[in-house]
Every structure is written in C-alpha cells, then in structure tokens.
Amino acid sequence: MGAAQGAINFQIWQSIVVMLVCGIGAVLAQQALAVFNDGVRPFLLDFIQGRTARPAMAAIAFGLSAGFIFGLGAPMALATTVLNPWLLFLPVEILGLLAPRKWIAAIAGVAWGAVCSFGLVGATQVASLLPVDFLGSLQSMSGPILWLFALFPVIAITRQFGKMWGAISFGAELLVVLFIVKAAEWWGWSVFAPSVAMALGVVMLIVLALVKDHREKRAGNLVTSAEDEAVMDELFGPNAARLRKNIVWFMALGTGVAMVAASGIFGGGEATSFLIAKGDFAGAAALDAVRVLGFVPLIVTTALASGAYAMAGITIVYPIGYLIATLNLPVPATLGLAAVAGAAVFGAEILGVAAIGRWLGRWPSLRDSSDHIRNGITESLGLAILIGSLMAANTMGGGMGMLIVGGLYLLNEAMGKPVVRMAAGPAAVIVAGILLNLMTWVGLFTPIAAG
C-alpha cells in the first residue's frame, strides 16, 4: 500500500496551494458568501439580515462542525495522508465567520492551511516511529470503504422504489463487478470494478426516478402550479441576485478549490481520499462525479433559500481537478489549467443556480433521489467505516485492540452519541492507538510484529 506516498510527496508548492484555498475560503465565509457545512447555511439568512451577531454565528458553525472536523476530517486525513474538505473547509469557515475584517479572515485561513499541510506530514512521520503504528493500521479501512461505497445506489433504490428494484439493482451491480474482475484476468482490463458497478446503480436510480415522474406527469398527477413557482421566485429571487452580484468572489474560490483538487493531495468525497493516496486520480474522478448527483439538489436549494453558496459548489470541481492531475503536466500548467477551469465552473454554477432550482422543482422524484443517495452513502459508509475500524484495531492490537475500539464505539452509542456515529470508529482507533502506545511504553502491551 502506497498510502504513505502522499505525505512524502507533500511538496512546498502543494502546501502553498492549500494555504491559498484556505485563505480564499475564509474571506468568502467572512462575508457569509460560502460555507462548506450545509447545516450552517440556513442560519446564515439571519446573519446576513443582521439578526445574528458574528460571534454567535461562529459559535453555531463550530457547534455544527466540530464533530465532523475531529471525527471525520482529521482521522481520514491521518489514515490516508491526503487532505479532505472536512479538515480544511470546516475550520476555515468558522475562522472566517469569526473574523471581523476580510484581511484577518485571510490570514487566519492561510494559517490553518499551513497547520494542516505541515502538521499532517509531521504527524504521519511521528506516528510511523511509534512502537504501535496506528496510522498505518488505519489503511486497512480502505478495503471496506472502497467496496461497500459502491452499494449506496442499491440502498437508495430500495428505499425509494421498494424491495424488488433493490434486489434487481444489487444483482446487477454484483454481475458488473464479477464481469470486470474476470475481464481484468482475461483481457488485462484495469478499471476499478466497484466504480463501474456504482455508476450503473446510479444510472438505474435516475432512470427509475425520471420514468416515475414522466408517468405521473402524463397521468396528470404532477402539476406544478404557477402559484407555487411564483412563491419560490419571490422568496429565492433576492438570494439568487446576491449570489450573482458576488460572482467574482465565487470565481476566485473556484480557482482555489480546483487547484487544490488538481494537486494530488486532496480527496473531496468520503471514499476518494483513499484512491487519491494511491494515485488513482481517474478512479477518484469517477467516484466523485457520481457523488455530485446526491448533492446538487441539496446545495442548490439551500443556496437559494439562504443566499450563501457552498465552499466547493456542487462539488463538480473535484473530479475536474483530479482529471487535470491525470494529464501529468508540469506544475505551473496543471495549476493554471485548474485555475481557469475552476473559475469557469463556479461562474457557470452561480449563473445557473436559479434555473437549476426551478428545473428540479419539476422533477420531484429526482429531488427525492438526492435525499436517498445521501442516505445510501451514510448507511453503506457507516458499515464500511465501522468494520474498517475494527480491522484496523485488529491489525494494530489484535483482540485487545478490538476490545478497546469496539468498546469505545458501543459506549458512544449508549451515551447518546456525543461523537457522530460515522466518526466514532476512526476516533476510537486513534484513542486506542495512543493508549496501546502508552501501554507498550510502560511494558503492559507487546506490539504485534510488522504492523
């Protein structure tokens, strides 16, 4: 496993790109133009209209984001040695919302970017010197995550269209995986099987949704009243105008996000970091391109309802960035191309956001699918991360490791989940890693050889 490659290859230009995107992100958050946490966006409406004070707004953002920074972003970065949006953008938006001036936000953002890029290299180097290599063991999470993630469309289809279609889609995905694996043996294909299966599942989900809406429309059950659309235009119009007025800022943000995605040290989705760490940029692009579908309706509607956009937009810049990285151009060309592409994509998104919102209003099943997609991602990833955490525990400490990690997970459940469920496993692995190292140090634990 070459996951450690990421950290070793962390070059100075990559750190500068990280600091740059964090600085820009903080400046946009300072003006309440963009936040990464979709939960924060609705609260920004009161902040923009002056009903919430800056410190209170930052406190809300911190409360909603803390679990995802410490529970998801940090362990994921340590496990993969690749940066992710939860670790970079969530703290950046808190700092930005806290900063009274734009320049203070910029400095704070750049500082956080430096902490992340240099801190990650330092942390992985220190951890590899410890007797129990718990960061190395976190790499055993990649198997379950990469393979089970492919099943999220099956779960979405089952929840939205029932048992029969669920079983059919599972069978279809299984056949595709079987075929691709065999094709690799017979004809030397080098496609990552779960990515293809996942793409097939998503296509099935979309076709089912469109067919359902089309049938309803023909039957006359689905009439979007002009009155409803007028209400939405009235409510969303000023917010869309606010976004358009600041399009230059958004294009600057797009530049930064695309450059960091093209740098080969950043994975945007939950499973992508593992592929980026292995250098499989094309696979990562396929994964995140499909994932976009789950987030378009969410991001577009919360943006229209609040007047603030998402830090990574509808996240289509991630796959575009990775694809630019596959070209293997010299660094200045890669960054230049990414900058232009990022600015263009964000510009187009801002100009199109009102139209996309109106269009989605006419296809309710598609909007519905988006909720089920995100639920499917949560359920499949939840299982994968839990199992991966136990596998990591086993690698690092055998039965003792599983006892500590499994115990901490169950304790978190019983206590009413102070740590987000999805983050509980990786967080427990890190706690167990520190504990096992301390126990080794005082002679209570003998590290398992060749961890």
Binding site: G39, V40, T302, A305, S306
Partner: protein, 117 residues
C-alpha cells in the same frame, strides 16, 4: 394529523412513525420543498426533517419558505418531551434532528404531537 417526512433519513423516520400513529393520521415521505408549500397552505400539519447535523439539509428550504420562527432544530441531541412541547408551543411546525438519533427522537416528538391535538 398529516405529517410529511423529509431529508436524508425520511424513509427511516416514516418507518419509525407509522407504528405509533392512529389510523386517521397520515405519514407521507416527501421532500422539503413540497412540505414547505403544504405547510404554507395548510394541507399538512408538521414536517420532520433529518440530516447529519439536524439543522442544514433538514430545514434549509423550510427556513426560506416558512421563516425561522416556524422551524426548530434539536441539533444532534435527543430532546426531552418538555423541549419538544416548548418548540411546538412557540409555533414550530418544521422540526429538524440528526439521522443517527432517529429511533430515539421520533417517539418523543410523536408523544408531544399526539398529546397536543
């Protein structure tokens, strides 16, 4: 009473709710946009939204359509019956909570809604 569920865990919330409600009650798995419209024109009584934080995807559109006074989030926690009663009593009809707490939150919320009719 007509309740629309929405957000990431909408199917799960409806599953948790259906065994609890009376025969005359209606639980609809819907969307935030549809629920916002239904609550505005009075064709639905309550909206239960879910997402990872309990606040964003679950209530984002509702805050825009109904105003923040009629929306309330319990965040990532499990509220007490008193907290639910206080929120509903102050006019909240769109309630948001976190997907990993659905099984614990739904019975509490339903208990209050059921007692209030």
């Amino acid at each position: 009473m007509k309740i629309i569920t929405g957000g990431v865990g909408k199917a799960h919330v409806a599953d948790a709710l259906k065994p609890l409600v009376r025969p005359e009650d209606e639980v609809v798995v819907g969307s935030d946009m549809q629920a916002g419209m239904a609550l505005r024109n009075g064709t639905a009584d309550y909206y239960l939204g879910t997402c990872h934080t309990g606040a964003g995807a679950s209530l984002g559109v509702l805050v825009g359509l109904l105003g923040s006074a009629r929306c309330h989030t319990f965040g990532r926690g499990v509220p007490s019956a008193e907290a639910v009663a206080a929120a509903v009593g102050s006019g909240a009809v769109a309630l948001g909570f976190a997907i990993d707490q659905i099984d614990d939150v739904v019975p509490v919320v339903w208990g209050v809604l059921d007692a209030q009719r």
